[in-house]
Symmetry: C2
Subunit: 391 residues, 2 copies
């Protein structure tokens, strides 16, 4: 009996588990201290009324024999896949059909699981800094990873890989840096993938936070992307589903490698290892696409973006070097002086009782940086900035 030794190449804890455990320890030792959490990207606003209405109605159905629902269809209910195809794609001029959409319990699961349909010997490229799930799950599978540095010199948008890579993970608006990519630059990645027979895993979890025109909301806005890209979406950040769990993956039928349809492979994976998102949550997800739902979630996004502006301005006033927060709910700040990012984490936790995320947790190029999120309560965010000012 042998364990999967690739796991031993990981750091002991998943980044956000490590942060949670440090905060828990500090709290236990200082029960009198009130901690403001701008670390993990968790939302704080309650579900909007149109979503609550849909959720309550669906729950009611589960209590009646005539309307009770058991196992969901493999790929998700059609009512939800149709709404996604219509609003997120057709209305943006992207050609994605409902049977190219796979509903899941969240983008984190999809990010983590998608690598399974690829051979172990592919070379994977991720940005540095990076959302740890892309890298960790490929380490777990024993794949070779190359890093695409994202620094202030390239505006936190990676260069095309110098060597040939097989799988590229891209996330825009970016977690953690808050950077965005222009359509022109994204097209270069699509062209690279077409030329090199690569696949792009495009994480669009934060697309609802784009405020400026000309920034692509979907990779399928680029020409030829249907033949090279898988796109992942979350309901967590745009609609407050972190605690409800819902997401979806798009695997176009035009995406064929070695003569095999990746849509069919992912369908086989989905059907075999997963049993669908809860009916009640899929109904809540459908409500996100209603007129009232869209209005309500846009309002929440705007309110979170007011926090982002507030953090940006306060930090700038304090003399910090600040990135992100314009088309993304994340603010990426340069840690002052020569301080390490975990050192800054401890300083903020201990002296200001504010939790952020150390840049080093996202990769070597994150060292010297720090991530704050705009998902806090507005008053807490103001108070957190006050505490930083008094440091």
């Amino acid at each position: 009996m042998k364990i999967n030794k690739d796991y031993l190449n990981l750091s002991e804890n998943y980044l956000f588990s490590e942060i949670a455990s440090r905060v828990k320890k500090y709290s236990a030792e200082h029960p009198d201290k009130e901690i403001i959490r701008l670390g993990i990207g968790d939302v704080t606003k309650p579900l909007a009324t149109p979503i609550m209405d849909a959720l309550e109605k669906a729950v009611f159905e589960m209590g009646k024999k005539e309307t009770f629902r058991g196992y969901a269809p493999d790929r998700g209910y059609e009512f939800l896949r149709n709404a996604i195809a219509d609003v997120d794609y057709r209305k943006r001029g992207c050609e994605i059909s409902p049977d190219e959409i796979f509903v899941s319990d969240g983008a984190k699961s999809d990010c983590g699981n998608i690598q399974e349909i690829f051979d172990k010997d592919n070379v994977v490229a991720v940005t540095d800094p990076v959302y740890p799930v892309y890298a960790d799950t490929n380490v777990m599978a024993g794949r070779k990873i190359v890093y695409m540095p994202c620094t202030k010199d390239n505006g936190f948008v990676p260069e095309l890989p110098a060597e040939k890579v097989d799988i590229l993970y891209l996330c825009f608006p970016n977690n953690p840096t808050g950077a965005v990519i222009t359509k022109e630059n994204l097209q270069k990645f699509v062209d690279y993938a077409r030329k090199n027979d690569s696949v792009i895993i495009y994480d669009a979890a934060y697309e609802a936070y784009i405020t400026e025109p000309g920034i692509p909301h979907s990779i399928y806005e680029c020409e030829g992307a249907r033949e090279v890209a898988i796109e992942l979406h979350s309901f967590s950040k745009n609609a407050g589903f972190t605690g409800l769990r819902l997401g979806y993956a798009v695997v176009p039928k035009a995406l064929v490698k070695e003569g095999v349809s990746l849509n069919a492979l992912w369908a086989r994976r989905h059907a075999t290892k997963y049993n669908g998102a809860p009916y009640i949550v899929q109904r809540a997800g459908e409500a996100v696409y209603s007129m009232e739902g869209m209005k309500a979630v846009q309002k929440q996004v705007q309110e979170y973006m007011e926090n982002a502006t507030l953090i940006r301005n306060a930090l700038t006033d304090m003399g910090y070097e600040v990135y992100g927060g314009v088309n993304a709910p994340y603010i990426w700040l340069k840690v002052p002086g020569e301080m390490g990012s975990w050192e800054f984490f401890d300083l903020l936790l201990n002296k200001a009782n504010v939790v952020g995320t150390p840049g080093e947790g996202f990769g070597k190029c994150g060292e010297g940086y720090f991530r704050l999120t705009a998902f806090g309560d507005k008053n807490d965010t103001i108070r957190a900035m006050q505490r930083l000012k008094e440091l």
Copy 2:
């Protein structure tokens, strides 16, 4: 770019997807026919009142800022893990602590994912017939599988493997045969695993259906099982959560292989690739362990078991050879004459408009057998038996 070619060793469709697609096709061609589904093991009773109450209360909390819940703790909420540890283990005399319990979105996911923490080169033993997830997910990972035949000669309880195997999947009460294992026989498997440094994945999804005394409800009733066994549980069949999605895995801290804690490995997997079951569903799960909840779900189980008895008796009267249905919601019947099990599936679908599951879909030894489930509506079940009689 290479795909995972191990997927090409699978049948094209997951068994239950294949059945769903055949039924859909028949329905489309015969819109006037009313089909009775006793194929996929999906429940038909609405959620019981105590569970509905808990679910509604939790949904209400999601709409208020003060009580809204975002990301769940990695391993699940303590309120649920404490209830599980207490009712499912402590009260049965098994020593399992809450931090050995990992809440998930269902036993199917856990069944499918658990193999990831093991090396590719382990030899896996599964029964034949077998719930396809154990086998398919190991095929996807490229592992060698050996089959332990379960036939009427051994009462559908496998012999110990003749060769040394590293991982054994056992499911009792069994899906699909409905067979159970005595504590004495289960102890032999635990002893085998201890002697051979193997790990047992014990799927206890149907334990609530045990009606006879002396049949173990948990593998941890066996001596030394904490050092060799992982146990998987579902809320689908005992409490009607097929559409809500909830399950849990037990990975004891005493389970250490090559000096590494499997509890720690699974924790790392859980935290990295998964983001927890919805808060509202975990609250519904907690209600299953309340006094009212336990009473309500036991009543549902009894009612389903009345269907099982009804099917058993009707089939026996018709002269079928029938197994299972006493401690399990599945009836395993011998297909009449020399007919193949897919042939019998088509006959039942076309002539009686009744859907079952062909034994061959569960493995070679399932050929010539057929599975019916007790999860249908009572009247539908009676009518299905009437239709079979008239065949």
